[in-house]
């Protein structure tokens, strides 16, 4: 009897010690992205904040401009600030548009972490705590260096989101690494798959010497795969892409795509939630920025990665 009582006492004490941090639980964070509603890539980040939110017992709201309009995004940031969250996570899609609203948040004492697009310097200039992401130019340049090593001197950049400055940076980095002119190598492909496919075919017909193709995500990569297949160029032309999906993984295994550049978006959703929660609860903060990518997924590493493609990778 006495033993049971002691056990109960211990259990209660244990429960109490677990409950202690719970007093501070339930923080609310807002993650604001620049992506239009339907951009499939952001699912990974949505899944990441769901996992992080459950693990840390916090609420993370995902907000975005439905059409990808960056001016709308600035309004969303202002709304988020007005709701006084415990922290804001946002992408620096356009420094000039967003620096004003973010400065307001920082001035109000709301901690801000920037993720995804933008540079570490821009993040610092805004007064954010740190940046989790990859430099778009460097990622493109790294991809270009791999292409250059394979002897590529000309390329086609299939840009399906040309209004985002970051997408142009990717093409620019690649172009400079192989010594090509980005102006004549980049096409504004639009988002309709049949149009993307036929634009790629038309470009390759008009420029038959094109040595490589770079796509900026699944939206442009899938129709480009179909275009190369139809042109009998699959595996003949050097093909690199940003981001990963089931189809891209299959193409890597089939030697059609040489590599996929993975910026590991999961970390961009997961880490800021963990960092902000720990900052709110215990006041701890890592010093310095965090590079989530670029990682290159090739035929060697694909089998491990593809299991979670589109969900966590």
């Amino acid at each position: 009897m006495r033993k049971t009582f002691t056990a109960m006492l211990v259990a209660t004490a244990l429960a109490a010690s677990f409950a202690a941090p719970a007093m501070a639980e339930g923080e609310r964070f807002v993650l604001i992205s620049h992506a239009p509603d339907s951009d499939s890539w952001w699912n990974t980040i949505k899944n990441a904040i769901k996992v992080a939110g459950d693990q840390m017992d916090v609420t993370v709201e995902y907000r975005n401009p439905p059409t990808g309009d960056l001016a709308d995004m600035a309004r969303i940031v202002e709304q988020a600030i007005a709701s006084n969250p415990d922290g804001i996570i946002l992408t620096i899609a356009d420094f000039d548009v967003l620096s004003g609203p973010v400065a307001d948040a920082v001035d109000q004492g709301i901690p801000v972490i920037t993720i995804n697009s933008g540079t570490q310097a821009q993040s610092e200039a805004m007064g954010a705590l740190l940046h989790v992401g990859q430099s778009e130019y460097d990622a493109g340049f790294g991809a270009g260096k791999r292409a250059a090593a394979a002897g590529v001197t000309s390329f086609l950049c299939v840009n399906h989101y040309i209004t985002n400055p970051a997408s142009v940076e990717r093409c620019k980095g690649f172009a400079e690494a192989i010594g090509a002119d980005v102006g004549t190598s980049m096409i504004d492909s639009g988002q309709d798959p049949a149009e993307i496919k036929n634009k790629v075919i038309a470009y390759l017909a008009a420029n038959p010497d094109t040595g490589a193709v770079l796509t900026l995500g699944p939206t442009s990569a899938h129709p480009t795969l179909a275009a190369l297949d139809e042109e009998s160029l699959s595996g003949e032309i050097f093909f690199g892409t940003f981001d990963l999906s089931g189809e891209i993984a299959d193409a890597i295994k089939a030697d059609v795509i040489a590599f996929a550049i993975d910026q590991q978006p999961y970390l961009q959703g997961y880490m800021p939630v963990i960092i902000l929660t720990n900052l709110a609860r215990y006041g701890v903060l890592p010093s310095g920025h965090m590079n989530s990518g670029p990682g290159f997924i090739t035929k060697d590493s694909i089998s491990f990665v593809e299991k979670y493609a589109g969900v966590y990778r």
Binding site: D37, S38, P193, N198, A202, A205, T219
Partner: protein, 365 residues
């Protein structure tokens, strides 16, 4: 002939007042323009022709539906969202739930035509402009599409349709290619080139006629026949011209409009199914802005936004102009962002031309 109540109309004048006149002139101009600036770029080689034909066919499929609906006096702004929705429905049913592909396609058609009927029902019952009602569905359907795809798969692109469609009897009707033998024969005769490298070496560069093109031609013929050769076609004109007057003479205006909404939805579903079958995946962002592209084709084709006037052949030519301009700029090596500028300019020019010609001929002020 000798009836003094019927004014004599010359054949020239009769030819001039056809609504598609502007579109015919526009098509000739556009082809002449690209023959001059991109004639040697491969745009008019078999491969190039297939290239812009497929894009034009895609526009034509939705333009036929939009055209008939616009002549009947209504708009459908939910076409683009309907395309995304239908694609996701097919992918979820066939890939996620493992239904046979033919059943998934049929269910998608039933759902889409039902939604078209709902659009029509709301417009007729509330008397609200179809612009508003279908604008609401533009948002409702897009939101539903994204929500459904994330709810069932946690992704907004659902792939793997090609694998499950293997051996299905209905899938090739939308995503297949016909006349392969004929084109192989063309290649054997040296009329079209063959691939010289890669996995398809020796095969003709143009495999055959994609079903997308067959559907487009079929829908154009059906639409033109319906509009000009049947009593129902007259009802469509009457409903759009003056609905009240049409009712007085016994035209079932509500039924006509309802059927046209359903037909527009059917066209959107054909578009979506062909796309899903060709690319093997559905995505929640498919079909963005397609409703406006359909309307552009129809307006270039000479239809009036106020209804009661227009032509399916004109809309088809509008689609052809749209496709040729978009692809032609790539062949000619122009800066790719400029095609939207071009398109807007052509739209304005076509409408001015159409209005001017009509005023001149009919004498209306």
């Amino acid at each position: 002939m000798s009836d003094e109540r019927v004014k004599q109309v010359s054949n020239l004048r009769r030819a001039m007042i056809r609504p598609e006149l502007g579109a015919i002139a526009g098509a000739v101009l556009v082809f002449a323009f690209f023959l001059i600036i991109a004639g040697d770029s491969g745009m008019f080689a078999p491969k190039g022709i297939q290239n812009w034909t497929v894009v034009s066919a895609q526009f034509a499929i939705i333009a036929v539906g939009a055209c008939l609906l616009m002549i009947a006096g209504e708009f459908d702004l939910s076409v683009g969202s309907m395309i995304g929705f239908a694609g996701i429905v097919i992918a979820i049913l066939s890939v996620q739930w493992g239904w046979p592909v033919w059943l998934a396609i049929i269910v998608a058609f039933v759902v889409c035509i039902g939604l078209g009927a709902l659009n029509g029902f709301l417009v007729i019952k509330t008397g609200l402009p179809s612009f508003i009602v279908t604008l609401a569905f533009l948002y409702i359907l897009r939101g539903m599409t994204i929500w459904l795809s994330i709810l069932t798969t946690q992704k907004t692109i659902i792939g793997g349709v090609k694998q499950v469609a293997e051996g299905d009897w209905l899938a090739p009707v939308f995503g297949g290619t016909i006349l392969k033998g004929l084109f192989q024969w063309f290649a054997d005769q040296g009329l079209i080139d063959t691939f010289t490298r890669g996995s398809r070496e020796g095969q003709p560069v143009v495999e055959g006629v994609p079903m997308l093109v067959v559907w487009a031609i079929g829908l154009i013929i059906f639409g033109q026949w319906l509009l000009t050769k049947t009593r129902f076609g007259n009802w469509i004109f009457a409903s759009g011209g003056d609905a009240q007057a049409a009712r007085y003479v016994g035209v079932p205006v509500n039924r006509v409009k309802m059927l046209m909404f359903m037909f527009t939805a059917f066209c959107a579903c054909v578009f979506a199914t062909a796309q899903v079958m060709e690319f093997g995946s559905a995505a929640a962002d498919r079909g963005l802005l397609k409703e406006f592209e359909a309307i552009i084709c129809v307006v270039i084709g000479g239809a009036l936004l106020t209804g009661g006037y227009g032509s399916v052949i004109g809309a088809a030519l509008g689609a052809l102009i749209f496709g040729v301009v978009q692809q032609g700029l790539f062949f000619s090596g122009a800066e790719s962002s400029l095609f939207r500028v071009f398109l807007g300019t052509i739209l304005i020019l076509a409408v001015i031309l159409n209005t001017y010609i009509r005023r001149m001929i009919t004498g209306e002020r």
